[in-house]
């Protein structure tokens, strides 16, 4: 008996520790239980409310279940059954109206949150960003900000309402950053909106949440929530044109720039002032990004080289073909890309 209580206590402690871990969201960077935006907080509160009602109902069912089996019944061969009614109007009315009342209690905050979280128009002073989902990567465009275009890494400031317009370049995807709020599907032929205001600076991983083919699992991205000052700096750096090829000092990077502008890369990738491709991610400030290949890998020269040698090996089904580059040409190209800060 004592051992059993000890075990239960240990289990409860473990559960409490787990929940505390969730609340911080440090070990669980994609948890929905540590909300970091107004939208995520509203949803979280609603979840807690509904969970409490659920717990109440489950407790009632559990108690009745245990009583029915272990207390208020007999086993075959024992004394006669104590209660053999086949219906009871009062009871039946009670277990119809009781749940109905609980559902009423749940539906009111539900409907309020639905309307609150889907404003028709962008809130005043909001930062509007266009999100374009591709098989299998994310493009972020800042129309109000000198046409900054970036891939797989979204930067937003705290304290400003964010209005995302979600568009798809091919099929249905779904935009999801668990700590910043719920999903919104990205549907071809329709523009969906997501409105929220981030409250705590930090890096929040996101992922496509609608099955979109072979590399659905690899369609990840990151949201950097910056302080307004950090965001302004980032914005300034991103708005700047990249250094002209003639002015690059590093000889490898200079050779790489040459190689890039003569390569098929330009057909799909844009580098401001160098190439105009729009099929693949914009590389104008590629070197400034922390990750590559839609957030599957950190942005290091080795990873970039690996990617260029065989994109399909890193991201199965990737649309970029392997061009058979190697040797010095590859090293130069990588050096050039990494120099695009």
């Amino acid at each position: 008996m004592k051992r059993a209580t000890g075990f239960i206590r240990a289990a409860m402690l473990a559960a409490a520790a787990t929940l505390a871990g969730c609340a911080q969201g440090r070990e669980l960077p994609m948890t929905t239980l540590a909300p970091k935006s107004d939208l995520a907080v509203w949803i979280y509160r609603l979840l807690i409310e509904v969970s409490l009602w659920d717990a109440l109902v489950f407790a009632i069912v559990m108690v009745v279940f245990i009583l029915a089996i272990f207390v208020f019944s007999t086993r075959v061969g024992e004394a006669a059954a104590p209660w053999s009614a086949a219906s009871d109007l009062k009871l039946e009315v009670a277990w119809t109206l009781g749940p109905a009342l609980i559902l009423l209690m749940i539906s009111i905050p539900t409907v309020r949150t639905i309307f609150r979280s889907q404003p028709n128009l962008p809130p005043n002073g909001s930062l509007e960003i266009e999100v374009v989902a591709h098989q299998w990567w994310w493009e972020f465009q800042y129309p109000g900000k000198d046409h900054i275009i970036t891939a797989n890494e979204l930067h937003i400031p705290t304290g400003v309402p964010i209005r995302l317009s979600l568009k798809s370049a091919d099929i249905i995807h779904s935009f999801w950053v668990p700590q910043l709020g719920g999903k919104r599907d990205v549907v071809p032929g329709q523009i969906n909106e997501l409105t929220f205001e981030a409250t705590v600076p930090g890096m929040y991983p996101g992922q496509c949440a609608e099955f979109c083919g072979e590399s659905h699992a690899n369609m990840r991205f990151r949201v950097f929530v910056d302080s307004p000052r950090q965001f302004a700096e980032w914005e300034k750096a991103q708005s700047a044109a990249p250094i002209a090829a003639a002015l690059i000092k590093d000889p490898a990077a200079a050779a790489g720039a040459q190689a890039f502008s003569n390569s098929p890369c330009t057909a799909c990738h844009r580098i401001d002032g160098v190439s105009k491709g729009t099929i693949g991610p914009d590389l104008t400030h590629f070197g400034s990004r922390a990750t590559m290949a839609s957030g599957i890998e950190s942005n290091t020269p080795a990873h970039v080289a690996q990617w260029i040698i065989n994109p399909g090996h890193v991201k199965p089904g990737a649309q970029m073909p392997a061009f058979g580059l190697g040797g010095k040409q590859l090293d130069d190209l990588v050096a050039y890309l990494e120099s695009l800060k």
């Binding site: 994609m30 489950f58 019944s73 277990w95 083919g213 699992a217």
Partner: protein, 825 residues
């Protein structure tokens, strides 16, 4: 042991014996058909289970490369498709409903035994078909939900999705035919005294499930037909560039998909409602409310599909409406849970394996229901949908709920079905392994979902905190796998050397326990007369249930009901075996293969097989168009409606939903049309003539029926000839119209208007063609000497179909032709 009625003095040669292989291939006995369903489903269950194990191995650690992305996507697609269409539905509907329901209502077979066999062979054909892609490069890989526009040829060029589309269409036909068959069986073939409010709850659940099948499968069929046209014939039903929207697929799919959840859940509710009273030795608590709640759940299930689409951006008004309707389903479901608990409360319990699984069901299903309420709350759903939380939720519903009920039902009905008992010891082992394995696999998924793990990902990165729970789940999934191994061992051991089962091993309450285990081929030597709810219990113990319990307590054996001792009073007519159902399925499957691999000779081979089998099946039936003669043994509430007429009405009901889906698509897509000729091309004067012809043909049809009922064959032939002639005029004008449009530059591929117009009007034209062929067959048959007043039903049936097709045209003519002139309508 429970009290046993004495062995019944009826002939005991059971349905399993005799006939050899040919006997099984040509069988139309609902019990043999059911058993073939069970065997196939148990094989597919093993395949689906192995797929689940592969999924769990792959998710063992981050960045695992056990399976490639492409193989993983195929595996999870087939796991879902297999478990839903090839395991749960065939076990519940094909196996248990097929076997048990006719016994419970005191019938000797289902309404249409050959259609029943055809359903099975079509099911097997469709099931094999789904896997054929494996020979051509891969299994289907777009998820069981197959969301457009990923499924378009451009994004999924392989043949695997073609096999998926056509396979699901074949399975859909099989299911609709079953639903129609069971609906008519329950409506028309209940034994005398078995009023609706005396039916066992399992029969209630199958009745409502059949209705759901009839109205829920047509939207899926329409969605699949659009996809088929897109993939094979260059239309653009789901292509945004043409103004269409891939969301249309989601509406059609979930209009099917959510009722589908209840098509799986309601029979489970029915099974639990049978098991709980028997092992509590109490009548089912709150029977009327239990029946009404099934009806209410089915009704509501048709209006909640949008809760699968909260993330698609339907807007706050639609979100709120679907949130509230979804929550409402919790009320009738709650009534069921509490009524089962009240049945147990105060009972005299016998803790068998079947009862264990029923008790397990109550708790596991409650957990699934409660997490369902979270999803009904749209904002919460936005965090949980497409995450592992949803995977946890629906496994609690479909495994903790439905599969627990199926396992309970296996232990409960196996003795009746095979004549052998299952080992209770192995059963208890299986139960506890299942409980540990199931909860250990799926409960942690709630947490993983809330920690942000999306579904349908073949791998995940390290550092997200998901690894440990995934490993726990994998271990528990293998425990779950072992629990099923125990079951397979139990089933095989019982079949080989199990203890012989008595007729009534559990002291049962419903009619199936009144006949031998395994039942004789004809089920009932004499059709029983029902004198109350719990029909067999009343026969055994009289109306007062308590008297029976008192006798039981005193260790006495209840008397074998007198009615059960009677031998057959005369020869029993059983339907003759037929090979054609098998060939119908073979023909359809061959056609499908030809279509998918683009080999027209194979298509023609399949079409000929199909056509010949259908015609042969028609002429095989000796009483075609005759009035039935054995209605006196049936319940007055059966209303004396002929089975065939009831079947046709049910079919037409299903057709209404089919055309409604097509019409809705037309209305939406007409307004989204970009460029192209548009609706302005339609000519009202010309189609007014064809509309008039069709309406007049209905009048001629009425006169033809009137003539044959007065035994005036020549007059009947004249009016019937006129009907056919007017039908041909209609078809001729339609053919002219279509050709004309084609020359004007409007084809299926032109624009949204073109594709939805041709699909809607074309499908109607196909119906008119079938009607003309049907009428022509009757016209030719009328030259036979046997054809007289007594066969008026054959004219009436063809007429019923013909009138329906005319009414649909009136709606199409109004909406498509007349309303296009009303601007802004």
């Amino acid at each position: 042991m429970a009290a046993q009625p004495k062995a019944l003095p009826v002939e005991t040669r059971n349905y399993l014996r005799g006939g050899g292989l040919i006997g099984w291939l040509t069988t139309v006995d609902h019990k043999r058909v059911a058993l073939m369903y069970a065997l196939s489903a148990l094989v597919f269950m093993a395949i689906g289970g192995i797929e689940a194990m592969l999924i769990r191995i792959q998710l063992w650690s981050p960045d695992n490369h056990f399976l490639s992305a492409s193989v993983y996507n195929q595996i999870f697609t087939m796991h879902g498709t297999t478990m839903i269409f090839l395991v749960v539905m065939p076990l519940e509907i094909g196996f248990f409903a097929n076997f048990i329901m006719p016994l419970q209502i005191g019938a000797r077979d289902v309404a249409f035994p050959r259609l029943n066999a055809m359903s099975f062979w079509l099911f097997l054909a469709g099931a094999i078909f789904l896997h054929l892609g494996w020979l051509w490069g891969g299994l289907p890989d777009a998820g069981w939900f197959g969301y457009a526009n990923l499924t378009e040829r451009y994004f999924s060029p392989g043949l695997n999705l073609d096999f998926w589309v056509v396979g699901l269409l074949i399975l859909g036909i099989s299911t609709i035919v079953s639903g129609l068959n069971f609906f008519v069986t329950i409506i028309s073939m209940r034994a005398k005294g078995m009023s609706f409010m005396r039916m066992p709850m399992f029969v209630w659940s199958i009745l409502i499930t059949s209705v759901l099948i009839l109205i829920a499968f047509p939207p899926l069929t329409v969605g699949l037909v659009f996809l088929l046209l897109d993939r094979f014939f260059g239309t653009h039903f789901y292509v945004a560039a043409y103004g269409a929207t891939p969301i249309l697929w989601q509406h059609l799919f979930w209009l099917f998909g959510h009722p589908e959840v209840y098509i799986m859940a309601l029979p489970a509710f029915g099974m639990i409602s049978e098991i709980v009273p028997v092992f509590s030795r109490k009548p089912l608590f709150g029977y009327p409310m239990m029946a009404y709640s099934i009806v209410l759940i089915a009704f509501l299930s048709y209006g909640v599909w949008g809760h699968h689409m909260f993330a698609t951006g339907m807007g706050p008004v639609a979100d709120s409406a679907f949130a509230i309707t979804s929550m409402l389903i919790a009320i009738p479901t709650g009534i069921k849970i509490f009524s089962w608990l009240a049945t147990i409360w105060g009972g005299s319990l016998r803790m068998t394996t079947a009862f264990y699984f029923a008790l397990g069901f109550l708790l596991e299903f409650t957990i699934g229901g409660l997490s369902g309420i979270m999803h009904a709350s749209a904002p919460i759903d936005l965090q949980q949908t497409d995450s592992y939380f949803v995977v946890a939720h629906f496994h609690y519903v479909l495994f903790g709920g439905v599969m627990f009920a199926i396992l309970g039902a296996i232990y409960y009905w196996w003795p009746k079905i095979t004549g052998r008992m299952l080992s209770e010891k192995l059963g208890k082992w299986q139960f506890w392994l299942t409980v540990v394995g199931f909860n250990g696999t799926f409960f942690p998924m709630h947490l993983l979902g809330m920690w942000g793990m999306p579904r349908r990902i073949y791998t995940y990165g390290a550092g997200l905190g998901w690894t440990h729970l995934n490993q726990l789940e994998t271990v528990c999934a293998f425990i779950l796998g072992i629990s099923f191994l125990v079951m397979y061992i139990n089933l095989i051991k019982s079949t080989a050397s199990g203890e012989k089962a008595p007729a009534d091993p559990w002291d049962g309450r419903s009619l199936e326990w009144s006949i031998a285990s395994a039942p004789p081929a004809y089920n009932f030597a004499r059709v029983p007369e029902v004198r109350g709810r719990d029909a067999y219990w009343v026969m055994k113990y009289g109306r007062a249930g308590s008297r029976g319990v008192a006798m039981f307590m005193a260790g006495q054996t209840p008397p074998v009901p007198e009615s059960m001792q009677a031998a057959a009073t005369g020869p029993i007519h059983m339907p003759a075996p037929s090979i054609y159902p098998l060939f119908v399925a073979l023909g359809l499957m061959t056609m499908g293969v030809g279509l998918v691999i683009g080999e027209w000779r194979i298509i023609i081979l399949g079409s000929i097989t199909l056509l010949v089998s259908v015609v042969a099946m028609g002429f095989e039936y000796p009483t075609y168009g005759q009035e039935p003669h054995d209605l006196e043994e049936l319940a007055p509430s059966s209303g004396g409606i002929d089975l065939r007429k009831a079947g046709l009405w049910a079919f037409l009901g299903s057709e209404c939903v089919f055309f409604a889906s097509l019409i809705a698509t037309y209305v939406v897509y007409k307004s989204r049309n970009i460029g192209g000729p548009g609706a302005g091309i339609l000519e009202i004067p010309l189609t007014s003539i064809s509309t008039f012809a069709l309406l007049m043909s209905s009048l001629a049809m009425v006169l033809a029926l009137n003539a044959i009922q007065r035994n005036k064959k020549n007059l009947m032939r004249m009016w019937l000839g006129l009907t056919i002639g007017l039908g041909l005029v209609f078809l001729g004008i339609e053919a002219y119209e279509f050709t004309h449009f084609y020359h004007e530059g409007l084809s299926m591929q032109t624009d949204l208007f073109g594709q939805s117009f041709f699909t809607l009007v074309g499908f109607h034209g196909a119906h008119v063609t079938i009607g003309v062929l049907w009428l022509a067959t009757v016209w030719f048959a009328s030259f036979s000497k046997k054809f007289d007043k007594s066969r008026a039903l054959s004219v009436e049936m063809a007429g019923l179909y013909w009138h329906f097709v005319d009414i649909v045209w009136v709606i199409i003519f109004t909406l498509v032709y007349l309303m296009q002139q009303v601007k802004g309508a």
